[in-house]
Each structure stands twice: as structure tokens, then as C-alpha cells.
Symmetry: C2
DNA sequence: CACCATACTGAACAGATGTTCAGTCATGCA
DNA sequence: TGCATGACTGAACATCTGTTCAGTATGGTG
């Protein structure tokens, strides 16, 4: 039989299957089979299917927290002075977890099912990004903005899009953007675009105040 | 009873419910109740639940096609010369459909359930964006890029993030980014960032060739 | 040793779900 | 008028799903 503890085998199998198909489309019997236990044993450990879902959620939350705390951007935010700190979630996932980790997909599900926990993740990331950008602003590495809240949301949304559209981008680009090669490729392009802009600069000395063409 | 034809009532109800909860979490009886018909009648018209799902998919596809064809960017791409053409999908959705339209949510499901049809949408949008950007490049409105394919994917992903994270962004910003006010706010910020960049430009005359800090 | 908590199982159950089917009703056509 | 076609329904069916329950094995504790 598999080496691990029965309970953790169930938890791992549930995490993987929930991430792949979604919790609603995963049956207790599926999880039991994947963990090589009886269906009744799944409920013995977690009370109900929903209890298992909550346990998986909590597990994921601690994993993500640990990941964020290990990132240079966070270490900088709490005191130190980092150099290569971007706070990119996609980058963190790419470096902190193996390519076949179910975590990115699970997080995607969390956000897709407009779950309250997923929304809380997003809001907290936007908050954190806003703080980080403001700090970089004062240091002169980031341009000031008329709407720093919206810009922080923009950055986080763009970052999360990499997680949410991973498969689609992989087929469209021919490279998994969360793999090491894919990350360097994407980061180089994003850095260039984030530095010099997408549109050609007609007035290089323009301030942040600008009107949209109607 | 509701004014419309029975069949279209079922189709509309299915579109709305599939978009809200996902197809797997929606029962035939739910749809029947929403359309005020019997469950058997749903299957009478569409053969099976999966047949209904395919019919809804096809319906959505024509709606989206019609939307894209009505957009200035597309009219420009096929000959004319537009001014305000950005090709932004989020913008199209915001202007072409009422705020309570189930279409954005349905499309989100389509994309995130790594459905083949959703993947096809994304790839075709990236192709189209790449063509559009290349044209703008030659015209001088868009900066050249070392990796125009990845940049097109970047733009589309950022654009789609607005659809995928609509609810979360609404709570985080206090404004629905697909509403008229939300769109102007978002577009102003995005235009500023896409024009002058996010990072302060240390070397304003740098070309696209640049290295990432390791 | 006896005792007990815990991990675990097989079998069963109640409810929900997709689907089938015989039959009703209305409409248009011969 | 008679009749065929298609929209529509109520009732039933087989299957799947989450959950319950009585019972077994095991390992540690008094």
C-alpha cells in the first residue's frame, strides 16, 4: 500500500481531484479509490464531503501562506531590502512548486467558483500589491499613478491571468508559462512591456494624467 | 405564461443557469422550472442534457461572433481605418451587452473548465490580437517587440482577466469593471500603464532588447 | 490480561438526477 | 371532417451520490 498515512493520502487525493475536475464533479468514491481506502473511511476522517472540502481549503491556505512568506517580496515588505522583488504570484508558484503540483489548478477552481475564500485571496493580494507599489513609487522605481488602487488590481489581475489561463496559454505559446523556460520568456516580455509600455510614446514626458480616446 | 417560444425559453434559462452555477451543478429540473415547462419537455427539444449544452454553446458562439464583427477593431482589420480601435474583449462585452447579461459569466465557465471550445476562443483571440498589434506596429502606434507572440498573449490574458475576475475585482475596487463607469476607470488606468509603463524609465531610449534581473 | 479508542470495512439506504414512455392536446393539412 | 405532426406532460425507472451503521482489527493503556 502507499507509504503515507491514510488521512493524508485522502487529503492529497482530494486536493488533486478537486483541482482537476472541481469538487462538485468529484465523488467520494473517486477520492476513496484514488487514496486506496473505502468510501466510508473518507467520511470517517472528515465527517462529510463538505468537511473534506474545508480541510483541503485550509490545507491549501497554509501552503499558499508558506509560499508567500518564503518570497523575497514579502521578506522585503516586512523589513529587508530586496532587489528582484516583483511579488508575482505566478512566479512564486512556478518556483515554489513542481510543474505537476495541483495547487495552481486548485486555486483556479477556488476563484472560478466565486467562492468567498477565493475572493478573499484576491482582495488581500491586491492590498499587498498596492502597498508594494506605493513603496516602490516612493523609492522611484515605479511611476506614480492617478488611480493606484486600480493599477494594483491591474497588476494582480494580469498576474493571476497566468494561473487562470495556464493551459490555454500553453497551447497558444507552445510553452507552459509556469515552467522555468516559460517563466523567463514571459517575464522578459512583461518587464519590457511594463517598462516601456505597449503603445509608442508620442509625448515621452507626459505625466500620469491622460485622457482616453472616446 | 412567458411570451417567448418554449424552446427559446429553455435555451435562455439554460444559458443563464449554466453561466451562474456551471452546467454540472445545474439539473434538468432546475432548467425546466426556470423555463416553466416540464423536465421531459427539455429533453424533448434537445435530446439530452448534453445536447442542450451543445445548443447553448453554439448559441453563445454566434452571439460572440456577432459581437466581435460589430466592433470597430474588427471592421478596421477587414479594411476600414478606425481610430479608437483597441480590440478589447472586455470593452466589447461592456458595450454590446447589458450588465446583467449571462454571456460574460458563461464565457468565463467555458474558458476555465479547460473546455476545447474555450481554448479555441482564446487561441483565435491571441491570433487576432497579434495581427492587430503588428499592423499598429507598422503604423507606428505600437512599440515593436522581441516576442510579439508572447506580447499578444499578454494583452489578451490581461483583457480576459477582466472577464474572469469580474466579481472579485468588483469587490476589491467597489466598481464593476464591466459597467460604463468601471470601464472608463479601468481603461484610463490601463491606457496610462500601457503607454508610459509601470516601472519608471531609467533609460528612456532603450530598445525592446532588455534583460531580466536574475 | 481486560479495556478502550481509533482506523477501517461492507452493506445498505434515502434522495437526487438523467432519461424513457405512453399518452394528451392543439394545430395545420388532406 | 379526419388525420398526422409536433409540443408538451405525469409517472415511472435505473443509476449515482452522500451518508449511516453495525461490526472487525489493531495498538496502546490501566
Amino acid at each position: 500500500m502507499s507509504p503515507q498515512d491514510g488521512r493524508t493520502r485522502i487529503l492529497d487525493a482530494a486536493l488533486r481531484l478537486f483541482a482537476e475536475r472541481g469538487a462538485a464533479a468529484t465523488t467520494v468514491r473517486d477520492i476513496a479509490a484514488a487514496a486506496e481506502v473505502s468510501p466510508a473511511n473518507v467520511l470517517h476522517h472528515f465527517g462529510s464531503k463538505d468537511g473534506l472540502r474545508e480541510a483541503v481549503d485550509a490545507h491549501v491556505e497554509t501552503l499558499v501562506e508558506r509560499m508567500v512568506e518564503g518570497d523575497p517580496a514579502h521578506r522585503e515588505a516586512i523589513g529587508g531590502a530586496g532587489e528582484d522583488a516583483t511579488g508575482s504570484l505566478a512566479e512564486m508558484f512556478g518556483t515554489a512548486f513542481p510543474p505537476d503540483s495541483p495547487l495552481p489548478a486548485y486555486l483556479r477552481r477556488l476563484i472560478l467558483d466565486h467562492d468567498a475564500r477565493g475572493a478573499a485571496f484576491v482582495t488581500s493580494w491586491i492590498d499587498q500589491s498596492e502597498r508594494l507599489l506605493r513603496e516602490f513609487e516612493q523609492r522611484g522605481t515605479v511611476r506614480p499613478s492617478d488611480d493606484s488602487r486600480a493599477r494594483a488590481a491591474f497588476v494582480v489581475a494580469n498576474d493571476l491571468a497566468l494561473l487562470l489561463l495556464r493551459e490555454q496559454l500553453t497551447t497558444a505559446l507552445g510553452t507552459d508559462p509556469l515552467s522555468p523556460e516559460g517563466m523567463t520568456r514571459w517575464a522578459a516580455m512583461a518587464l519590457d512591456t511594463y517598462t516601456h509600455g505597449l503603445y509608442a510614446d508620442r509625448d515621452p514626458h507626459a505625466t500620469a494624467t491622460e485622457e482616453e480616446t472616446p
